[in-house]
């Protein structure tokens, strides 16, 4: 990963247009990236007027709420290979040969700052064991809620609904959702799959502190994981109207040597004039994997009770 993450966006209003040019140097669209319409306007009214006039495919100035913070509403999706494996990886055979190349893993440059996740030795063993058992043990295979940060880079869209008191995110995968509380922050009352999210604005960046995760989720299809002690700090920074830079710093001293950060770009879904989430209630697609051994047909063919 050649991007420097974790330090590009700090509190306050960043020198935005300059940063975008710097970012785009790492890809190929320098000439587009530095067009004047990329500039971010700090005045709320002016920005809102610009946003209205640049609605559509152009990556214009970010829309703002009446309070002057970026308006993140819309349908977004990651295009990264992060959900296959957060770390740099070559293409490889998938967890099941049955589907041939359809289930093969596409290669990825990796999204982790420094390349590798800094596991403690025991945790690294656990990760490798997870990898070996991924066909049946990946919570995604079982249609379990993905947890944070994985929900953000599942290969399905999510939709943000922004209000002053909370920012609600609906994820198409497993029809999961969460509230990011922007007021009245409290500690997580109980552990859960999607955790407890307290949010705040630092300049144009939405910063979300996520705690109360139950430690039963994975971070990708390669068995990377964190425990119920994890504290995830997410940073959502709009880069124009149609892109959003996402960073998640995971602090979990029981699993990692030190806090580490993953980062990737989120893209506004624009395939239709009005994109929307559809229903991916995947329970029915996981039942054969999870409960097939308890079916009458399976038990009759094996001559057991399914309870062995």
């Amino acid at each position: 990963m050649n991007r420097q993450v974790g330090s590009r966006f700090v509190a306050g209003h960043p020198p935005y247009a300059k940063l975008r040019c710097g970012l785009m140097l790492s890809v190929v669209a320098l000439s587009i990236a530095c067009q004047p319409q990329e500039a971010v306007v700090d005045s709320g009214q002016q920005a809102a007027a610009q946003a209205a006039s640049t609605a559509g495919p152009a990556n214009g100035a970010i829309a703002r709420t009446a309070a002057g913070v970026p308006q993140l509403d819309g349908v977004w999706q990651a295009m990264s290979s992060a959900n296959w494996d957060l770390e740099p990886h070559a293409a490889r055979q998938g967890a099941s040969e049955v589907l041939g190349a359809i289930a093969a893993v596409p290669p990825g440059l990796g999204v982790v700052e420094g390349g590798r996740i800094p596991y403690l030795p025991d945790a690294l063993e656990q990760r490798d064991q997870n990898f070996a058992n991924r066909r049946t043990e990946d919570p995604e295979a079982k249609c379990f809620r993905p947890g944070i940060p994985r929900a953000t880079y599942m290969p399905q869209p999510f939709q943000i609904f922004q209000t002053d008191s909370e920012i609600f995110i609906a994820y198409q995968y497993a029809i999961s959702s969460r509230s990011i509380y922007m007021q009245d922050h409290i500690d997580a009352p109980v552990d859960s799959w999607m955790g407890w999210s307290n949010g705040r604005w630092e300049g144009d960046t939405l910063v979300v502190e996520v705690t109360g995760l139950n430690g039963q989720t994975w971070l990708d299809r390669a068995g990377n994981f964190a425990s119920a002690n994890a504290r995830v700090t997410e940073r959502y920074t709009p880069e124009g109207q149609n892109h959003m830079w996402y960073e998640a710093t995971i602090d979990d001293p029981t699993v990692f040597e030190r806090p580490w950060t993953l980062s990737l770009m989120l893209h506004r879904v624009m395939d239709q004039p009005n994109p929307e989430l559809l229903e991916f209630k995947c329970v029915e697609f996981a039942e054969e994997l999870m409960y097939g051994h308890l079916s009458k047909a399976a038990v009759q063919s094996e001559g057991g009770t399914g309870n062995e």
Partner: protein, 320 residues
């Protein structure tokens, strides 16, 4: 008095206090309705749909559409009795909703003097089904008699954590955890029921419907404002849920704030393939405190594999 009964008694007392406040709320004027910057009623918040009013009017109340307030108080008190369970049993853990859930006696409840949620037909009951629907139902029953326990996909939708009967349009109250959350933006209303927790995302921007080729468990909704009321039309049903609304059926819902803490919810079900007439209903939701906790039904579904495993054990022992 055991701790359990004490907790129950306190719950009922608290509910009594809430009832009084709900009555006061029902009398408050329209001008107190919270509004957005754009001047629209602001539905955002948490809402309880807990009620003792049954969906269909009981036979013994066949000719009575409304209770008097006194009759309602007596009726409600009778329906809020908390059933005791035997301590340290599985039933105690699973069904003691006062301690392990949110029993309706503990929920905020809006006053409803109606004797049924259904308002039309006039008898307060779901109309009779068509011969076509009866034939499909009979076929399903016959299959289920033979194969109900063959595999997970043969089990009821609620047991599989796919939908409860009260989910989607029309949304109806349940016996416990009748909690809901509304998120409202300039162009969307999102309605989340605690039980199953699938967010119903309702665009208010006049966009086209999705293709009829895409049936969904919760259907697909489109909403618009009519004055201060949000009207939602839902189509794209599967025909496979408990309500059996078919892919060509339609449900229309109306959300209206009748006070700062009360939302009147009205619905009409229109599906000539299933019912011989349309049917409608209404009830009020009462503002309640958040947050609503995660309802990870499938993730914690120990019941389904245990049921299948028990049946397989019975078969192996020659008991079935």
């Amino acid at each position: 008095m055991s701790n359990r009964s004490l907790a129950g008694a306190i719950g009922v007392l608290a509910a009594g206090a809430l009832l009084v406040s709900a009555q006061l709320v029902a009398q408050s004027s329209d001008s107190e309705i919270p509004r957005t910057a754009a001047g629209k009623p602001n539905f955002q918040g948490h809402w309880s749909s807990a009620t003792v009013t049954p969906l269909q009017r009981p036979q013994e109340l066949a000719d009575k559409e409304f209770f008097t307030p006194e009759e309602f108080a007596e009726y409600e008190a009778g329906r809020l009795v908390v059933t005791e369970t035997e301590a340290n049993t599985a039933g105690d853990v699973h069904y003691q909703l006062v301690d392990f859930g949110l029993d309706r006696s503990q929920n905020d409840r809006a006053v409803n003097l109606r004797t049924s949620i259904i308002t039309a037909p006039a008898d307060g009951r779901i109309p009779s089904t068509t011969p076509e629907a009866q034939a499909i139902a009979a076929e399903r029953r016959a299959y289920s008699q033979e194969h109900a326990y063959d595999s997970a996909s043969n089990r009821p939708l609620a047991e599989r954590c796919i939908t409860w009967g009260h989910n989607g349009a029309p949304m109806t109250p349940v016996g416990y955890n009748s909690n809901n959350q509304i998120i409202q933006t300039g162009d969307h209303l999102v309605f989340v029921q605690e039980m199953m927790q699938e967010p119903r995302i309702i665009p208010l921007d006049g966009r086209d419907r999705i293709s009829a080729e895409i049936p969904q468990w919760f259907g697909s909704s489109r909403g618009h404002w009519e004055g201060d009321t949000i009207v939602v039309e839902t189509t794209n049903y599967t025909g496979l849920t408990n309500r059996n609304i078919t892919p060509t059926g339609k449900v229309t819902e109306r959300f209206t704030m009748t006070g700062p803490d009360t939302v009147l919810y009205q619905f009409t079900v229109d599906d000539p393939k299933v019912w011989t007439s349309t049917w409608s209903g209404e009830y009020s939701m009462s503002r309640t405190e958040g947050p609503m906790f995660e309802y990870a039904c499938h993730e914690g579904n120990y019941g389904l594999p245990n049921i299948l495993s028990g049946i397989r054990a019975e078969e192996a022992a020659g008991l079935r």
